[in-house]
């Protein structure tokens, strides 16, 4: 299940929803706002999403992960709006019988969420400037060139 929210993400509550008597493993990922990017000091970030497609594409990514790996439950929540240093921007949680599937599905989901969902972020820097962050995949392609 995919969710886009405008308020604080609560990892503890989300984790509890993945509990299952058949689950032996639980893996979570959180993306936190950090104070630096590519050498510039960051004060805060602004996230924007096109919600209808971010939702449907997120659901699709989770379905793919569940088809690839034998997991019991998988969820992702992405926050939008203004986020401060230390805030959680995205959370992924997976529970499964064995840990291999949980790790792989969790990684699959966050990797795809970052490059496939229509979500953008603008960084506000300490020097007063701001800028939209380039996509990971584009940066990787640029490095390949």
């Amino acid at each position: 299940m995919m969710q886009i929210v405008e308020t604080r993400i609560d990892p503890e509550r989300l984790r509890d929803e993945l509990l299952d008597a058949a689950a032996g493993a639980y893996t979570s990922f959180e993306g936190w706002i950090r104070n630096e990017n590519e050498g510039q000091r960051v004060l805060r970030l602004e996230y924007e999403a096109y919600v209808p497609l971010a939702m449907s594409e997120g659901e699709q990514v989770i379905r793919e992960a569940m088809e690839r790996y034998p997991v019991l439950h998988a969820r992702c929540v992405h926050r939008t709006g203004v986020l401060e240093i230390g805030d959680c921007a995205v959370w992924v949680g997976v529970s499964s019988a064995h840990r291999d599937a949980a790790f792989l599905a969790c990684r699959y989901i966050i990797d795809k969420v970052k490059v496939r969902l229509p979500i953008w972020k603008k960084e506000h820097y300490a020097d007063g400037h701001s800028g939209w962050v380039n996509c990971e995949q584009c940066a990787a392609h640029a490095h390949d060139d």
């Binding site: 924007e48 999403a49 209808p52 497609l53 992405h78 970052k114 953008w120 972020k121 962050v133 584009c138």
Partner: protein, 81 residues
């Protein structure tokens, strides 16, 4: 043939265009045509492959055909997470 297309801009495209949505008359066969003909609006110098496009709320390839009355969503390079 000129088509009436509703275009929606997001993130840096919206900031550059100064507007989130507009309806334009363009002679376009594909989504890529729309993107290129609105270059001065969204101002993107990104390779097309770095951007995404949706027609009527469905993600499509840049070679997808556009029809009169379609809504085309122009997405700059995404950066979730």
């Amino acid at each position: 043939m000129t088509k009436s297309i509703t275009v929606r801009y997001f993130a840096q495209f919206r900031e550059q265009a100064g507007i989130g949505e507009e309806t334009v008359a363009v002679a376009a066969e594909t989504a890529a045509d729309v993107f290129r003909q609105l270059q001065e609006r969204h101002g993107s110098r990104e390779p097309l492959g770095h951007c995404k496009v949706a027609i009527n709320d469905e993600l499509v390839g840049w070679d997808a055909p556009v029809a009169d009355g379609d809504t085309v969503l122009l997405f700059p390079p995404v950066a979730g997470g």
